[in-house]
């Protein structure tokens, strides 16, 4: 995964979840971040779709269980869009 996508995802998550970017790691998840509830999950999805110009399926949205998985998913979607 390129650092810039992870960095961007971390920035978005920091804004949406109200947690300093420095405290977010690939392992950050709804279990470790209290504010990450279902409404914030939706907001995170919307912010990612809007920023990267991608559309996430219900299955993909369900699997976004930590920041590392989110970044990997975005990486995959972005590369398939640009191809």
């Amino acid at each position: 995964m390129t650092p810039s996508i992870f960095e961007q995802v971390r920035g978005i998550a920091s804004d949406i979840l109200g947690v300093p970017a420095g405290k977010i790691t690939v392992a950050s998840s709804p279990e470790t971040i209290e504010s990450w509830d279902s409404m914030q999950h939706l907001n995170l999805v919307l912010a990612i779709e809007e920023r990267f110009g991608v559309q996430l399926s219900p299955e993909e949205i369900e699997q976004m269980n930590n920041i590392g998985l989110v970044a990997a998913l975005v990486e995959k979607k972005v590369s398939s869009v640009s191809r």
Partner: protein
């Protein structure tokens, strides 16, 4: 990504400023951050910091309630961030999911307890009329008509129930058309098809809204069409989260709501100041000359003509136009008045500054010349440096960022929500002509020895009348917009003005003024109510374009005379100081009132009518109208 870093740095700076207690600067940085990168992530950051700063910021507060049949929560931060960029702190109340009917009807419920300034009723065709939306092919023509009538009746009942319970503005989403009609192209062959029936409902909705004050239709179907019906919808989010709008369009929804919030809250620009070179025409007149600049019906001049057409449209809505350009005066005026491709001419501009002085100084002078606040100016310039200079020196000016491509200029100016209006008065439509009269007046004033001689020469005629259906919109508008000569600065909606006028013992009066140079239209409002033998002035205001011509004395003397006629012995009124109403500060003292009381809000003044020498100045011809019900024409 450098822009990513810049965004992060801005966020860190905001938090540092909040920590230091430098709230104003923090708010400025938040606005900058939002403008760089408007979207869901930035909106979440901006609103969380806005809530931290909260009361410390001198922002206008405005309360919006959203009643809905779908998920709107992700749009709320976008709306609040967008409002902050226009100097507002929006409080937003979201009604329970699909509970809009109960909420409209329950006078003691959470909607009315929130005491909103504006309410948005966001209901979709699919939720309100599922039969018309999904099963249209199953319906007989009679059944379809019946279904449409049922929807119209519901709207009628909801609007009436709302108006009984609240004086707030109500913004109703119109019904959208389906992406594909059930019968394909056959549907377009008659008005009783699916799209025809929905159009009919929307027509009825407009009729219902027009029957009330302060009820407005948001053309949701046009909004969706403008951004593309296919891309607007996101079926997966609808099924997952009851959110029917795709991520990319949530900001468009928020901005559409802002187009109503701005005029409702009075955040409007009264004048648009434009640059010339590479803004009003392509090229630089001082270098390219009359034959070199681009403006006309052909590309690329057509892009500049489109912007000029937009300027004319805005001026028809009562927005004054002004020029601020770094140029040689003669070159620029020749292009303005002689170039065959120009749609606007120098006569369309109420103020012109063509010189080499910096633009913020010119903008200050333009505001002064037009007698409006600096916060009532919008500014458009292709040059980024000029825009930033104005932004830094005069943060209250609405600076419009022009895109790189001139073909997009017209839309950028047109779509700026500071130009939205929800009602138009006769005065709005003639404002530019009125300012031309103003210039002639100022010229004449110079040539008289004494003020009195000048007043006699002006031949002013004033007409005082109770507020009527014809003048209600203008009267409410004046209470909302007048800042300088305004003794109490109480803001009222049309609905509130109508309600006061109907109250026993209350009077709502307006004054129209004309003189030898032209018609000023309706320029003043007085609201009074009798309490025993005292008549209290609730509101007294005058548009700044007539103050200092003794019209205010004529108006006040009439209030006193009228009060005496009703048996009142005294005339009393508060002066409530604001940042802007210094021109009214000495008004009561100058007219023989005695100070009775004062507190932290202001001072209370009173006049013993019988002993007062207050008279209408002899040079003003006063005409009184008791009733002005359905008279056509303005005089």
């Amino acid at each position: 990504m450098p822009s990513e870093h810049k965004s992060r740095n801005l966020r860190e700076e905001v938090d540092r400023l909040i920590g230091d207690g430098t709230s104003d600067l923090a708010a400025q940085r938040l606005t900058e951050l939002w403008r760089r990168d408007p979207g869901s992530a930035a909106a979440a950051f901006v609103t969380s910091r806005l809530d931290q700063l909260g009361e410390k910021l001198p922002l206008q507060k405005f309360k919006v309630a959203i009643l809905r049949s779908f998920t709107v929560e992700p749009i709320v931060p976008l709306l609040r961030a967008e409002a902050l960029a226009y100097g507002m702190n929006l409080a937003v109340h979201v009604g329970d999911f699909n509970a809009y009917v109960q909420e409209l009807l329950d006078g003691a419920g959470s909607l009315y307890r929130f005491a909103p300034d504006a309410v948005i009723l966001a209901v979709r065709t699919a939720d309100l009329a599922p039969d018309l939306w999904q099963q249209f092919a199953d319906l007989s023509p009679d059944a379809a008509r019946g279904a449409a009538e049922r929807v119209v009746r519901s709207f009628e009942q909801w609007v009436a129930a709302f108006r009984e319970r609240s004086q707030a503005a109500l913004i109703v989403h119109s019904l959208e058309q389906p992406r594909n009609t059930s019968l394909g192209v056959l549907d377009s062959q008659s008005e009783s098809g699916q799209s025809g029936v929905i159009r009919q409902i929307n027509r009825e909705l407009r009729r219902i809204a027009a029957g009330y004050r302060g009820i407005y239709v948001l053309d949701y179907d046009s909004l969706v069409a403008r951004h593309g019906r296919e891309s607007w919808h996101d079926e997966r989010k609808w099924l997952m989260a009851r959110l029917p709008i795709a991520a990319d369009h949530l900001l468009h929804m928020a901005r559409e709501w802002m187009r109503f919030v701005m005029p409702l809250s009075g955040r409007v620009a009264k004048a648009l100041v434009v640059d010339l070179d590479n803004t009003l025409w392509g090229g630089v007149i001082g270098e390219d000359g009359m034959t070199g600049i681009k403006v006309g019906p052909e590309y690329p001049g057509s892009a500049y003509q489109a912007l000029q057409r937009t300027l004319l449209d805005l001026s028809r809505k009562g927005i004054l136009l002004a020029v601020c350009s770094k140029n040689n005066l003669d070159d620029a005026m020749e292009a303005l008045d002689q170039h065959p491709g120009m749609l606007v001419r120098s006569k369309d501009f109420a103020a012109v500054r063509i010189n080499w002085t910096d633009k913020s100084q010119n903008l200050r002078e333009i505001a002064q010349e037009l007698n409006i606040g600096i916060d009532a100016l919008a500014f458009v310039d292709d040059n980024r440096f000029e825009r930033e200079q104005v932004r830094a020196a005069l943060p209250e000016v609405a600076v419009i960022d022009l895109p790189e491509n001139p073909l997009e200029y017209a839309a950028a100016a047109r779509d700026c929500p500071v130009f939205e209006r929800l009602t138009l008065s006769a005065e709005d439509q003639q404002r530019t002509a009125m300012y031309a009269g103003q210039k002639a007046r100022a010229g004449a004033e110079q040539s008289f020895q004494s003020k009195e001689d000048f007043f006699r020469f002006l031949e002013q005629e004033a007409e005082i009348a109770p507020v009527s259906d014809l003048t209600l919109a203008r009267v409410a508008q004046l209470t909302q917009k007048t800042n300088q000569f305004n003794l109490t600065t109480r803001r009222y909606s049309e609905q509130q003005v109508a309600e006061m006028a109907a109250r026993p013992g209350w009077q709502v009066l307006s004054i129209k003024v004309r003189d030898r140079f032209g018609d000023h239209g309706l320029v003043g409002v007085a609201i009074t109510h009798d309490e025993g033998e005292q008549c209290e002035v609730d509101t007294l205001l005058m548009s700044c374009r007539v103050i200092g011509r003794t019209i205010e004395t004529a108006f006040l003397s009439h209030l006193a005379k009228r009060a005496a006629g009703r048996g009142c012995k005294g005339l009393v009124g508060w002066f409530l100081p604001t940042k802007k109403n210094a021109p009214a500060r000495e008004f009561y003292a100058q007219h023989g009132f005695q100070r009775q009381d004062s507190n932290s809000d202001g001072s209370l003044w009173s006049l013993d009518i019988e002993c007062s020498p207050l008279r209408c100045p002899e040079w003003i011809k006063l005409e009184l109208k008791d009733r002005e019900l359905t008279k056509g024409g303005r005089h």
